[in-house]
């Protein structure tokens, strides 16, 4: 399927509704994150785009261009809405994220690389789970998650030589990409959240968006 075919399947109107759904979902996620887990975060209005799955990592890299190196967390989710979430932020932000949680158990020591990695994964897990979970809830779906993992630095540095995922690396397939910028209040940490769904979710997504609009 080429870009125009994908867009004929998933119209601009659908994309606009999806942006609206994401906006509501991320707003709820943001409020609940502050209330429930004491993470104060601002999420910008999401943007929906279509692109070839093969170009995904290069696009993310280009879109998150910064002088600093990037850390990226990948987490797959599946339900009727199935795909991958990517959370990207500058490596220098890692220390700031660790101080996000005022934990009583620091048996590993605050400087442990293992603690740093696990804290990043925990932040990623909560953030991705909150955003994807709220979207799924609005669209009347339940999703499950695989464990989050850090994308190796070598993959981020050489996106053109790396297939991003066995599910998304068919060069002819199109992906729906949803991007939002997040800001941790008080921490001066900014990053990007990408939700990528393959073609297999498009048909369901179209129907779910139609049902969503019909409620109003």
């Amino acid at each position: 399927m080429n870009t125009s075919q994908a867009e004929s399947t998933f119209s601009q109107n659908d994309a606009n509704i999806l942006e609206e759904v994401m906006n509501i979902a991320f707003g709820k996620a943001s409020a609940d994150l502050a209330r429930v887990v004491d993470i104060r975060i601002l999420l910008t209005a999401p943007r929906v785009e279509f692109l070839k799955a093969d170009d995904l990592l290069q696009w993310i890299k280009q879109d998150t261009k910064t002088d600093d190196t990037l850390n990226m967390i990948e987490q797959n989710f599946w339900g009727k809405y199935t795909g991958s979430a990517f959370l990207a932020f500058p490596s220098s932000a890692s220390k700031g994220l660790i101080s996000l949680f005022d934990d009583d158990d620091l048996s590993l020591g605050a400087e442990s690389p293992l603690l740093e990695k696990e804290t990043l994964l925990e932040v990623g897990n909560i953030l991705i789970g909150a955003c994807v979970g709220k979207v799924a809830e609005l669209l009347d779906d339940n999703v499950s998650f695989s464990p989050p993992r850090l994308v190796p630095q070598v993959v981020i540095d050489n996106p053109s030589t790396t297939a991003i995922s066995s599910k998304l690396n068919d060069p002819d397939k199109m992906a729906i990409m949803i991007k939002t910028v997040f800001n941790f209040e008080d921490k001066d940490v900014k990053g990007f959240l990408f939700l990528v769904a393959g073609e297999e979710s498009m048909q369901w997504l179209k129907a779910a968006l139609k049902n969503f609009v019909a409620k109003f």
């Binding site: 996620a29 609940d32 429930v36 887990v37 004491d38 949680f101 005022d102 934990d103 009583d104 158990d105 590993l108 442990s112 690389p113 293992l114 696990e118 925990e122 897990n125 909560i126 789970g129 909150a130 979970g133 709220k134 799924a136 809830e137 009347d140 339940n142 999703v143 499950s144 998650f145 464990p147 989050p148």
Partner: protein, 204 residues
């Protein structure tokens, strides 16, 4: 009926908690390994039997599960275990507790509201022992080459950092060996070199 048989037969621990942390289900695997029968723990809070769960990290992620439908993962590398059970094998002397990889996730009722939270417990002790032995052997081997100045120390460190989930210091600490236990390390290193040479010879 069949589902109950499955849940009680699988080689996996399964606990179901309600939103008030009360135990609603405790499968046979959990009963066998904990020594606590289901009828004894049923209705009690998990903190009554395992007070260490009352910590900020667990409570935060429990709340994320019941609020967002998140899944939370307790990796063995970070936690070691969350339920202090004896290792299954009678011949494991290296560790005191079964190493576990656990997952916590939501369970919804007919109205799709999250009513319960499940925790699954996987015994990964064997894999952990194998990985730790391998890491220790690798460390020994690298130390040997560093001592002979065949590999620069910083290069050896970066190999370790790349390959091992924890720093070399943490591997040694977990394995109970002092970092400079040269005699033991030399013996293991020599044996490993011999084995590797043998394998290389066979494959030629």
């Amino acid at each position: 009926m069949i589902l109950n048989q499955i849940l009680d037969s699988i080689d996996l621990g399964l606990v179901i908690l309600d939103r008030d942390f009360r135990v609603r289900y405790w499968n046979r695997w959990m009963a066998v390994h904990s020594g606590i029968p289901f009828k004894e723990i049923k209705g009690a809070t998990i903190f009554d039997f395992y007070p260490h769960f009352r910590n900020k990290k667990f409570l935060r992620n429990f709340r994320a599960v019941v609020t967002f439908g998140n899944h939370y993962f307790f990796p063995q590398k970070l936690y070691g275990y969350i339920f202090p059970f004896k290792p299954e094998s009678n011949f494991v002397s290296e560790i005191n507790y079964m190493q576990q990889s656990c997952t916590m996730g939501p369970l919804r009722n007919e109205k799709k509201e999250i009513e319960y939270v499940y925790i699954s417990v996987n015994d990964v002790t064997e894999a952990y022992i194998y990985e730790t032995n391998l890491a220790s052997a690798l460390l020994t081997l690298l130390e040997k080459y560093v001592d002979k100045e065949e590999i620069p120390a910083d290069e050896a460190q970066s190999i370790l950092d790349e390959l091992l989930p924890t720093s070399s210091k943490e591997v040694l600490a977990k394995h109970g060996k002092p970092p400079k236990d040269k005699d033991t390390h030399t013996i293991i290193g020599d044996q490993l070199v011999d084995i590797l040479s043998e394998i290389a010879g066979t494959n030629r």
